[in-house]
Amino acid sequence: MSTAATTHASEPGALRWYRWLVWAGIIANFVIGIVSIAYTAQVLALARVDPATPLVWPRLSAMLVMLLAGFYIPAAVDPCAHRFAAVFAVVCRFAGTIFMAVAGGHYIIFALFDFIFGAPQAICLYLAWERMRAAAEGRAPRGRIVAVLASLLALAVFAWGAFQWLMAPILPSFASDEEYFKYGSIGNDGASGIPYPLWVAMPEVCAHHLPRPQGYAAFGLLYERGRNPAVDSPVGFSRATVGVERMSINCAVCHTVRARLTPDAEPQLYFGGAANTVDIQGYQRFLSRCAADDRFTADHLIPAMAAKTDLSWLDRLTYRFVLIPFVRKRLLEQGESFAWANRRPAWGPGRIDPFNPVKFGMLRLADDGTIGNSDMQAVWNLNAREQIRSPAPLHWDGLNNSVREVVISSALGDGAVAKEFNYPAMERIERYLRALPPPPSPHRPDPAAVERGKIVFAANCAECHASGGRRTLTEIPVAEVGTDINRSNMWTEAARDSYNNYREGRDWGFKSFRKVAGYVAEPLNGLWLNGPYLHNGSVPTLRDLLEPPAQRPVAFVRGLDVLDGRNGGFVAPPCDPRQPPAEGFCFDTQVVGNANGGHVYGTTLSAPEKADLLAYLLTF
C-alpha cells in the first residue's frame, strides 16, 4: 500500500489523469448498467436505439457492460504495473467505439460513450508514456502538440458522432404491411423530409398559394376517416424523426385511389390503385412558392406552428435561426431543380412525369426537351402479372421488368438516399404489392349484356388484354397502337444506360432498365378504378375509348372521384381549358403530350356491340 502511495505521489500528472479517467469509466459503466437494468425501456427511449422485445437483450448488454468494467480495474489501480491492462483498456474502448460507429444508426450513442472515455485515456496514456521515457532519457518531455492535435481531433470526431446520432432516423413501426405502405418510410426522410411543425403551418401561412382553402387536401392528398387534415398525415406520407420530426412522401401518395359510387356517398380509398386526385406537381410547386413568399419567416411561421404543435423555447430558437432558413433554402433549390417542368404542360391530378425528374436530377442528364407526362399506374396484382408473363414489363413503356428494381428505383425517384435506405422496408412494400388484389368492381351491368360482351371482348380485345392473351403484357409498338408518342420518347437509351450504371451511395444492382419503343398491353384488373384511360389519361371513360379519336372529348375535368357507372371510369364533365373548373383540373387533349388519338380497337364496332362490350368491361 505504501509502495502504491509512493508511486502515485510521484507519477506524472498525465498518468494520474489516466487513472482517474479509467475510474470514471468504470463508475460510468456501473451506473449505466444498473440504471439500464432498472429502467430499460426509458433508457432505450432516451438513447433512441432500436426497440427490443423482450427487454432481456438490453439488460444482458447492461450486465456485460458492468462485467467489462471489472476488467478495467487493474489499469485504474496501477497502470505501470499492469501495462497490458492499461493499453487494453484503451484499445477496448476504441474497439467498442469503432464497432458501434460502423453499426451506425442510434447505436452510435454507445460509440460516443466509449469514445468519451477512450479518447482522453489514450491521450493521457500517451503523454504519461512520453514523459516517463523523457525522464529515463534525461530530456525534456515532448508530445504536447500531438496531444493538443489529438484532443482537437477527438472533439471533432465526438461532434460528428453526436450529429450522426441526432440525425439517425427514428422510424415508427407498423404492424401490417398495408399500414407500412400507407405511412412507412422509404428512406427519404432525412434527405427530403420537411420538419413536421413547418409542414402543418405552411398551408396556413401560405394559404394564398393554395388552389382552394382546404389545406393539403386542395392538392387531392387523401386522409383516412377519423384523421384530422389540419394536423394528421395524409395517406402517402411518412412521419419519421431525423433530428426533428419530418414529413416525406412514400409510394402510396401516387398509388392510392379515391372513389365513390354517387356524389353523396362516403369516398372510399383503394390502396395500390392509380391516384386520381393527387396533384403532386401542384403540391411541389406550393412548397417552393411558399418558401419564396415574404411570409416564409419565423415571425409568421412560428405562431402558426405553435398553434398546431408543441414548441419549446429551444424549438422556437432552433426553428427561427436554423431550420426555417435551412428549409427555405432547400425548398427553393428544389423548385429550381424542377424549373424544367415549368417549360412543359402541367401534370394535373393523377398524372406525373415519372422519369424526367430522375433523368435531370439524380442521373444528371441534360434536359432533352422530352415530355413524359402520364397517368399514374395501379400497382396491384404484381404476382398475377408474373403468372401471365415472366418477367413482366412494368411502367407504361415496360422500361423495367424487375419488381425489385422498380420498387427501389421508385423510392430513389421519391428522394430516397443510400445512407437512409432500408432494404427490409423495400421488401415489405414489394411483398405487399405482389399479393395485393384489385378490388372487385361494384358496377352491376345487365348480365345478358355482359355475356354478349364477353364474346365481343374475346374477338376484339382478348389478344392484348386477357390474362391468356398472346400479346398481353408485351410492348405494342407506338406506330401500331397510335397513342401519344411523347411518353415513349421520354425514356431514352442514355437514361437506360445511366440508370443501369447508377452507383450513387452504393451499388444498387440495377440491370433491368431497357428501352422499348412501345406501350405495354396491360391486363384489365381493376379497370373500373383506372380511368381516365390510355397511358396519358387522355380519354375520360371506357365509352369514349370505344369512339374514334375525333369523337373523343377534347377537354374534360380530371381529379374527380365520383364513379361513372354508365360509361366506366370517373365522372369527367367537359370543360374550357381557359377557365379552371371549380373542382378538379381541366385536361386539354390538344396540349403536347396529352393527345387522345390511337388505340382505335373496337371503335368500328356497332353500337349494340359497343354497349355489350362496355357492360362486360364494367365488371373488371
Binding site: L60, L64, L68, Y72, I73, P74, A85, F88
Partner: protein, 140 residues
C-alpha cells in the same frame, strides 16, 4: 525424502498447472472469440439456430457479440501471465458464474450458454486454484 519435499510442490508441478490453466482458458477464449464473430457476422441466423429469446433486432445480438469479444481481449493479460495478472482471471471466473446465472434466468436457448459458462467457470476456478496453490507451494 526430506520434510521440505514432502510438503512442497516442485516447479515442474507448478509449470504443469500453469499449462493446464492456460490451455483451459485459451480454449475458452477461442470459443468466445469465434462465438462473438458469429454473433457479429450472422446475428439473425444465430438467433434462430440457438433459439435465443424474443425476436431482437440484429443490433442487440451484435452488441452482445462485440462485448464478448472485448471481454476476451481484456482477458488476454490473464492468459499471458496468469500468475502475475491475477485480476483478469479472478474477475473472469466470477463473471462467468454471473453470466451462467443470467443466461439460466433469461431462458430458452441461452440456458445452453449458461450451462457452458457454468462448466467453464468451474473448470477455470478449479485449475486456477490449483495453479495458485502450486505456485505458492513451489516457492521457497
Amino acid at each position: 525424502m526430506t520434510d521440505a519435499l514432502s510438503i512442497g510442490w516442485t516447479r515442474a508441478q507448478a509449470a504443469t498447472q500453469h499449462t493446464v490453466y492456460r490451455r483451459v482458458l485459451g480454449f475458452a477464449l477461442i470459443v468466445q472469440t469465434l462465438f462473438s464473430l458469429v454473433a457479429l457476422a450472422a446475428p439473425v441466423w444465430l438467433t434462430r439456430a440457438a433459439d435465443l429469446p424474443g425476436t431482437p433486432s440484429a443490433g442487440w445480438v451484435r452488441l452482445w457479440g462485440i462485448m464478448l469479444l472485448i471481454t476476451a481481449i481484456l482477458y488476454l493479460p490473464g492468459w499471458i501471465q496468469p500468475v502475475y495478472s491475477r485480476w483478469p482471471n479472478v474477475v473472469g471466473i466470477i463473471a462467468r458464474f454471473v453470466l451462467a446465472v443470467t443466461y439460466f434466468w433469461l431462458g430458452r436457448g441461452l440456458r445452453w450458454f449458461g450451462l457452458y459458462e457454468l462448466v467453464l467457470a468451474l473448470l477455470l476456478a478449479w485449475s486456477y486454484a490449483q495453479l495458485v496453490r502450486a505456485e505458492l507451494m513451489s516457492r521457497p
